[in-house]
Symmetry: C2
Subunit: 429 residues, 2 copies
C-alpha cells in the first residue's frame, strides 16, 4: 500500500558532515521516482525555513547539479543549531498543512529526531496523514539503535589520516604532540585516531575519551612513561575530557578534574575598547572583565603548558583538529558516502512504499557474511530522540585504555583504506 | 667530467612537508645509477646524525620500500631544528673525511643551505674534493631564487581544500569563521586559501598576510562590512600577523598592532604544583607566574573574542589549521610530488655528472609553452642561504588586498585540481 499523494519537505540540521549531502541527494533521487510525491521542497536552514516558508523546489534541479552537490561537504540547504519549541513545531505543522505536505524528511542527530517526533504527534492528534522519517547523520556517532551513523566514517578517515601524517611528523621531530578531537560527549571519533597505527611503535600512544574521567596526574604519568619509552608521545584527546567521565570511576574515587581550571576566566590585557562587556555580548565575561576562552581551543594549549612545566620536556605542541574533521573534501570514506546516500533513499522508500507513519532509518550489520555488509531498518523516532550513545564500556579495558582489536573490527570497515606509511627495512627506529 | 669516487651522505632538516621524502627517494634512486657513489648514507635527524655518526645505509633498501616511503609525509630519516655552530660544521666535515664522503646532499630550507655552505667552505679551504648540493623544501615557499619550493604545492592543496569544505560549513551555519594558517614570515600559504573560491560569494572573504601591517580596527571594519554583505565571513589569517608587517606602511603611519596584547602573559589559575617556574621549564613565565601562550593557537581565540565583543556577532569560531597543513597524506599535489622527486634526482645529477662543486637546486618556469612546465637549475648556496623571500609586493594591491588573478596564475599549477563544490541552479543564496 503506497502513501498519500502530496508534497514533501526535506531539511538538514545540526553540525554539517562531509556526507550529509549524499543523504539529501539520495532522498531527492528516490522521491522523483514516486508519483505520490508531487514536489519535494528543500527547507532553507532546517526549521528556520519551515517556520518562514523558505523553500527550494528540488525536482527541477538537473541531475549533474545534484550529483555535484552530493559530493560536496556540509549542508547544501543550510543548517541550523536551534532546537524548536513546541509552539514552533506546531507552527511548522500548520505550515505543512497549508502546503499539503504529506512527507517530511529530516536529516540530523537526536535533536532533529525529537523535532520530527513532535511534529508527527501533532499530525497524529489531528488525524492528518503525514509521514515523518528522520535520516541519521552525525560525526559523533552517538545515535541510539543504529550500529553507526553516516558522517562518522568520513570524519574518522580524516582523523586517522591526520594522525598517520602527524605520527610521521612526530617521529621526524620528536616531542610530545597533543591533538584535540571532536566529540564532546562520545569518544568514537577520538578513538578513530587508533586506526592510524600501522607499525608497532606508532602513535597515538595515548587516547583519552570523554567517557573516562580525566585525571591530570595520571595523564602526566602516562606522558612521562610514554616519552621515556619512545622518546616521543603522540596523544589523542577528546574536546570533552573537560567534563566528568562516566566510566571507570571506582567507588569513592574523586579524580582531580582539570575542568575547574579551564572554566576559570582568563585575564587578557585588551585595551578597554575591545574588552567584552558582560551585558552586551555573547562572550562570557566575569565581573572583572576576564574572558572565558572556548574550552577546546584552550584545552590543548593548557595541557601542553602543564606537560612542559611538570615533565620538563622541551618540544611540546598541541593542535585542535577543528572543522576539517567534519568538512574536509579529500577524506571522504567510500563506505560512508554509500551508506549516507542509501539512508536518504531508504527514508523515502519507507515513507512512500513501505507505509511507515514515522521512524528513523537505522543501520545494522549482517554478521554472517564474512565481510562487511549492512541492511537498513526503520526504528521509531522515540527510540533515537533525546538520549545518545556512549563509547561502549565493553571496549574499554580495566586500566581505562581502549580494546584496539574490538574497536578496529567495528570502525575499520566504515573508514576504508587509509594511506600506508613506508618504513625502512632492517633499521630499528 | 664525472665527480670523484667515494661515499655520499644525505640528510633532512627543518619542519617536515608532505613531499620531502620524494626528494629523498629521488636522490637515492639516482645515486644508485652512478658508480662514483659507493654507498649513500642517510643521516638520522640531519646534523645530529652527522655529528654522532648515526647513519642508515640506503642502497640495500628494496625498491618497494623506497617507493612506499616516497609517498609518506614528513622526514623518513628524522629531522632537526637545530642550526649548527661553526665548530659543529667543522666536526661534521672531519667525520665526512674519515668516512671518505665526497657527496653531501641536504634537504631543507635556507638554514640548511647555510649549513651546507659552511661545510663546503671547510672542504674548499683544505682542497678536499667534496660536492655539496642543497635540495629545497619548505611549505612556507620562502626560498630565494627558485620560482617556488617543493612542499608548498601540497600544503596549499591542504589549505585550499580545508577552505573549500569550511566555506560550505560557513554557508550552512552562518557566522564568522577565522582560520589561522602557517607561514610566520611569508604569506604564500595563507594566500593559498584564495584558491578555494569557486563561486562569486565564496570565502575566504578576507585574507591577512604577515607582510601587511595588521590593524585591529581596520580588521573589525572589514569583518563588519563582510558580515553585513554576506551574512557571514570566512577569514584566512597568517599566524605571523602578530608581528610588524613590511608592506603598505605609509610614511609616519603607526598602526595599532595586536602584538602587544598577544605578547602579554596570560594568567591561568593552575594549582601550584602544575604552575611553570621561570627557571626550570621552557615555558615562558613572568615574575608573577603568568604564562605566555603560544601565539598562533591563541591568536584565533583572541580575535574571535574581539569580533564577538565589538561587533556583537553571535556565531564566531576560530581554528588553527596546524600540522595537517604540512603532513596530511590525502592532500598531496601531483605536481608538487613530481617536482620534489625531480629536485632530488637533479641534485645527484648536478654533483656527480654535471660537476657542480656546490649549489642549490632551483626551479624556473618555461614561460612560452602555453602550459605549465618547469626546468631546474643550480644556484650557488650563498644565493639562497640566510635571507628569505616575502609574498611579492606586486601582488598586493593599494588597499592591501591580494591581486587574485596574479596569485592564481602563480599558485594554481602547483596545487592542481581541487574538489569542486556543487550549487543549486536558480537558487540565489
Amino acid at each position: 500500500m503506497a502513501g498519500p499523494k502530496g508534497n514533501a519537505v526535506i531539511g538538514q540540521s545540526g553540525g554539517p558532515t562531509a556526507v550529509i549531502n549524499r543523504s539529501f541527494i539520495g532522498a531527492i533521487m528516490e522521491a522523483r521516482k514516486h508519483d505520490e510525491i508531487l514536489e519535494l521542497y528543500g527547507a532553507r536552514h532546517g526549521i528556520q525555513g519551515m517556520l518562514n516558508n523558505e523553500y527550494v523546489p528540488l525536482f527541477e534541479q538537473p541531475n549533474f547539479v545534484l550529483q555535484q552537490i552530493a559530493k560536496t561537504p556540509a549542508a547544501a540547504l543550510g543548517s541550523i543549531r536551534h532546537k524548536p519549541t513546541k509552539d514552533e513545531c506546531l507552527k511548522i505543522f500548520d505550515n505543512f498543512k497549508k502546503m499539503n505536505v504529506r512527507y517530511f524528511f529530516y536529516i540530523g542527530g537526536n535533536d532533529s529526531a525529537e523535532t520530527a517526533y513532535i511534529i508527527n504527534s501533532y499530525a497524529a492528534s489531528e488525524g492528518y496523514d503525514l509521514r515523518v522519517v528522520h535520516i541519521p547523520k552525525t560525526i559523533d556517532n552517538d545515535l541510539l539503535v543504529t550500529d553507526h551513523c553516516p558522517g562518522y566514517g568520513s570524519a574518522s578517515k580524516y582523523v586517522a589520516s591526520a594522525f598517520i601524517g602527524d605520527n610521521e611528523d612526530n617521529r621526524a621531530l620528536k616531542g610530545v604532540k597533543i591533538n584535540v578531537c571532536m566529540g564532546r560527549n562520545a569518544g568514537f571519533l577520538t578513538a578513530s585516531s587508533l586506526l592510524a597505527k600501522q607499525y608497532p611503535k606508532d602513535g597515538p600512544h595515548l587516547v583519552y575519551l570523554p567517557e573516562n574521567p580525566f585525571n591530570i596526574d595520571r595523564f602526566l604519568e602516562d606522558v612521562d612513561r610514554t616519552f621515556k619509552e619512545h622518546g616521543r608521545a603522540l596523544i589523542a584527546i577528546s574536546e570533552g575530557i573537560n567534563k566528568q567521565g562516566i566510566y571507570n570511576l571506582k567507588n569513592g574515587e574523586k579524580p582531580e578534574y582539570i575542568s575547574t581550571w579551564l572554566n576559570n576566566f582568563v585575564q587578557i590585557n585588551l585595551p578597554d575598547k575591545y574588552k567584552p562587556k558582560a551585558d552586551t555580548t555573547s562572550v562570557e565575561v566575569d565581573s572583572h572583565g576576564n574572558v572565558a576562552l572556548s574550552g577546546s581551543g584552550m584545552l590543548g594549549d593548557l595541557l601542553a603548558i602543564i606537560v612542559k612545566s611538570t615533565l620538563n620536556i622541551k618540544r611540546v605542541r598541541a593542535d585542535t583538529l577543528g572543522y576539517p574533521q567534519r568538512s574536509f573534501p579529500l577524506a571522504i570514506s567510500d563506505v560512508d558516502a554509500y551508506e549516507a546516500y542509501r539512508v536518504g533513499v531508504d527514508a523515502v522508500v519507507a515513507a512512500v512504499q513501505n507505509n511507515f507513519d514515522e521512524g528513523s532509518i537505522a543501520i545494522r550489520r549482517i554478521e554472517d557474511k564474512g565481510r562487511y555488509e549492512i541492511e537498513t531498518f526503520v526504528t521509531p523516532l522515540q527510540s533515537v530522540q533525546r538520549n545518545t550513545k556512549s563509547f561502549p564500556k565493553e571496549w574499554i579495558k580495566e586500566d581505562g585504555t581502549i580494546d584496539e582489536r574490538k574497536f578496529r573490527e567495528y570502525a575499520s570497515p566504515l573508514v576504508g583504506e587509509l594511506p600506508m606509511a613506508g618504513r625502512f627495512v632492517k633499521a630499528i627506529f
